[in-house]
Symmetry: C2
Subunit: 200 residues, 2 copies
DNA sequence: TTACAAAAAATAACACTGTTAACTTACAGG
DNA sequence: CCTGTAAGTTAACAGTGTTATTTTTTGTAA
């Protein structure tokens, strides 16, 4: 008598179809073009059904923000080595961050500012915490080869993240969508500067 | 027979009233809440009149982006000294940038990404050029005490701007709207790191 | 002063948006 | 088979940017 289970499974399926439909719209037309009616058309349900699964359009987009932070964390972590505690790890992390941003531009733009009112975000996205923690402990390792994050490591993490996000943003705003030679140089320059200031 | 002049003057007045109305809406309700009808209500004209002065709502917002870059440039330049060519000038510039961003949050958010599709921007805002030029020549001065900008200075400018914008963005997204003690530390840390990498 | 052309402004519409109240249909349990 | 609940629908509300059409105003020449 798994009728309830089946219903839950069906509900989950609809939820997923909403997310995949929304995602395909964002990818093909950009997050500005995402609309509830377009999603409803794509999943072949009426509009109010979507509101049985998500509180609002923003809640749907927040789902991708969360996914984005998880993926970003995993993408960076995948390229780091557990043993190596040298500052080259920071270079790897920085370049991985950069690479993720331009390989997933729609996601990255959704993650940062565009489309969502700024201050609500952090509170609604605990994934940011998880992402932050990873980078903090990476820096901690580089600083003093320990695993106990202190205030200084947090401060340095904040600086590091800011530099990376700034590089990506300015690149996306100012030049074309795909990074060129010069910007790669700028990236290396900035990371190098950060490391230099860190280890001395 | 200054009837034509009077008409031009009146047209200019309406244009200005549109901008001031739009600006007051942005300041009180945020740029998300700006709408053509609200502007029309405020200036006591019908909606299509606005389209005789601006091509679109985005064109109106772009006007504030331009103003923003002009003001940012002037704000920084006002705090620099012509004679001093030490790297402390960079610290001053960096802190002035930071201060401007949080003293003019609506403007800053309008200038960077939020609300406008990214890639069109740079082409439509020549003021970015002017702002960039100022910072490039500042860095050139610090590097080799000359006034001839070279590729290296441009690269360093890009890095510097990225760091600053990153700091502001992460602060606005992650923490509260007003910067706290820790973030001031991060700011100094980042600027210090940049200068250190620059002069050595 | 009146007639007329041209410029200015207003109305009203189009095609959308997010969101929700009210109604209908489908379906499982008694 | 009937009934109550839950799922899904239609239709509406209150907006949005933008524009075609119509009206009003205004300056000029007869």
């Amino acid at each position: 008598m798994g009728v309830l289970e089946r219903k839950l499974r069906q509900k989950e399926e609809v939820r997923n179809s909403i997310l995949t439909a929304a995602w395909s719209i964002i990818q093909t037309e950009g997050w500005q073009a995402l609309s509830i009616r377009k999603i409803a058309d794509a999943i072949e349900y009426s509009v109010p059904v979507i509101y049985n699964h998500f509180e609002s359009k923003e809640a749907i987009m927040l789902e991708f923000v969360k996914e984005g932070f998880r993926q970003l964390r995993d993408h960076i972590q995948a390229q780091l080595s557990e043993e190596d505690r040298s500052c080259q790890q920071l270079e790897i992390a920085g370049k991985a961050y950069w690479q993720f941003a331009f390989a997933n531009q729609a996601t990255y733009q959704l993650m940062f500012g565009m489309g969502l009112p700024p201050c609500e975000r952090a509170r609604q996205v605990p994934e940011i915490q998880s992402f932050s923690t990873m980078l903090v402990s990476l820096i901690q390792k580089v600083i003093d080869h320990s695993n106990q994050p202190d205030t200084n490591a947090f401060l340095k993490f904040h600086t590091f993240w800011s530099i990376l996000h700034g590089l990506v943003s300015i690149q996306m705003i100012n030049r074309s969508a795909t990074p060129d030679e010069l910007s790669e140089l700028v990236l290396e320059d900035a990371i190098y500067g950060f490391i230099k200031a860190l280890v001395v």
